[in-house]
Amino acid sequence: MPTRPARTTSRPKQRPPEQHRSEDDPRIMLDRAVSADLYEPIPPYPTRTEREAEFYTIGDGEMFLNLGPQHPATHGVLRLVLKLSGEQIVDVDPVLGYLHRGVEKICENSDYYHVIDQVDPLEYASALFQEWAAVLAFEKLMDVEVPPRAEYIRVLSAELLRISSHTLFMGFLALDMGGLTPILYSFIERDEIVEMLAALTGARMLFNYFRIGGVNGDLNHEFMSRLGDWMSRAAKQTEANTGLLNENEIFVRRARGVGVMDREMALRFGVTGGNLRASGVPFDVRRAHPYSVYPQLDFNVPTRLEGDSLARYLIRMDEVRESIKIIDQCLNNMPDGPVMAKLPRLLRPHPGRAWGAVEGPRGMLGVYAISDGTDQPFRFRIHDPSFMNLEVVPHLLPGNLLADTMAIVSSLDPIMGGIDK
């Protein structure tokens, strides 16, 4: 065994490493000098608009509270600057952009296949809907006919994902109100569906499955067997999961009558999806502007009149049941045939403009695509439903208490990826 040489010199002293001070580093720009003044006004720049000045004027006994981008419950990186008078909210200024990735600009420099990949992470909890909207717009640009089997597979996978997204919404709503258990039940549900879709598409969350002219790959054995398993228990499991919250007095008392959005307000703000239907407007893109095979499917559009958080929650649970019905019909009526239309490898549509909209779990997801004849879209505009849904927050929150912030924001189901693009 080799021996270590005996130490002949004393051990050198360990010096602590040089402290690196942020004030000395020229690359780091601090907005202000680090001073003893601890009371920094917000915002740290002069206000730019009338509304901003109105918001940042503080009255007697009011204070600003940052429900900051890092917060256990703001559904992603959303910053809500609240003006509070004690516990009561006086005004709200949502600050967005913490997750802005410039997807629209990237898509202007990607070819049509890559756009589908780029557009997935927008509403990451329900990725297939963005793909569908984009693909719908492109198919209109290129006049592509999608084979019926592909349409049915699209509807099937999208409705599964809708159920998964709504179940996740339920879990997060409960978590934001303090219940620790329903979210884990909803993750069990979601896990089953996501594993199913992973068997079908190859990915668990960002699927990259839809293609212009069809889908990327037919149904397979593992997907069908998982789907069959799940369908046999789907209805009962949904009832059990919703029963966790519906019958909970505390949850119902906290959600009922909170954040009431009436019909006029919802229409004025361009709110779509479950939030609009909970306020009494039966607008569903699948019925108003049918796309794909929805005209041939039989399902209801649940509508409620109250417009409060409880109605928004109950509507989504109703939609889960409708989706189960749709999936059933898809499985029964699935035609045979190819799953992808024949398209040239290099896609160069004629110059033109197209708008495609689908009904996502949160509302109407629209894509406006302009083509200039090259293989990259000239303008790729995404209209995200969570963006419009979040816009009502400064008008719903004032007058409520701080604890209702979560009840209201969670019930609108925002996903920051879509809001910030």
């Binding site: 690359r27 780091i28 720009m29 915002p43 720049y45 002069p46 730019r48 608009t49 009338e50 509304r51 901003e52 967005l96 952009g97 802005h100 410039g102 629209e104 600009k105 202007e108 209109k140 229409l267 004025r268 703000f269 361009g270 709110v271 779509t272 607008f283 108003a288 502007h289 033109g352 403009r353 197209a354 708008w355 909209a357 109407m364 629209g366 406006y368 302009i370 303008r379 505009r381 209209h383 963006f387 419009m388 816009e391 008008h395 910030d420 693009k421």
Partner: protein
């Protein structure tokens, strides 16, 4: 393809529509002058046979030569989507009247169009940047946009110059002053 919609639009809006009304698939497209935007939107929203009550989208477009503002509307009276293109907006000073008098939800959409293109919406009470940081001095989705290293006073400024550096000459407070021209070379 809704022929009746075309006729109804021509009847109601007549002189304000520039050029032919194009219809393709399930979309009807009209072009108007930016100054006519409030009237046209008001007519479309209020008239009994048109009733375009839902604003589906408000987007800015930079066609390279000019800028446009594109509205998408939905009505129960027609199976088509209606696309309204308000053009031309000049690239040096793009201005367009705001739609917030009709739809409060247009406020954030216009903020986004301003943030991405620099289009100033007159009448919008809250026209400030929505995605980019407040001290950003450029408009990302314009076609003459350079890489963002030099557009913000960020720690990355000047560290890795991929393009020619462009020192921001204006303070971020003034919205219209942030419009940059592409370099001549």
């Amino acid at each position: 393809m809704d022929r009746t919609l075309k006729r109804r639009l021509e009847a109601r809006l007549g002189a304000q529509i520039q050029g032919p009304i194009r219809q393709r698939h399930d979309q009807t497209e009209i072009r108007i002058q930016p100054g006519d935007v409030p009237d046209v939107l008001r007519t479309l929203h209020d008239s009994v046979d048109l009733r375009f009550e839902l604003l589906a989208d408000l987007a800015g477009v930079d066609t390279g030569n000019e800028m446009q503002v594109v509205y998408h509307l939905w009505s129960e009276t027609s199976p088509d989507w209606l696309r309204i293109i308000a053009e031309p907006l000049s690239r040096e000073d793009p201005r367009c009247p705001s739609a917030t008098f009709l739809w409060t939800g247009a406020e954030w959409l216009e903020r986004e169009a301003y943030d991405m293109f620099g289009i100033v919406f007159e009448g919008n009470r809250d026209l400030r940047r929505i995605f980019m940081p407040p001290d950003y001095t450029s408009f990302p989705l314009r076609k003459d946009f350079l890489l963002p290293d030099d557009a913000a006073r960020s720690p990355g400024e000047g560290v890795r110059n991929v393009e020619r550096p462009f020192a921001p000459a204006v303070v971020a407070d003034d919205p219209a002053a942030g419009v940059r021209r592409a370099p001549a070379s």
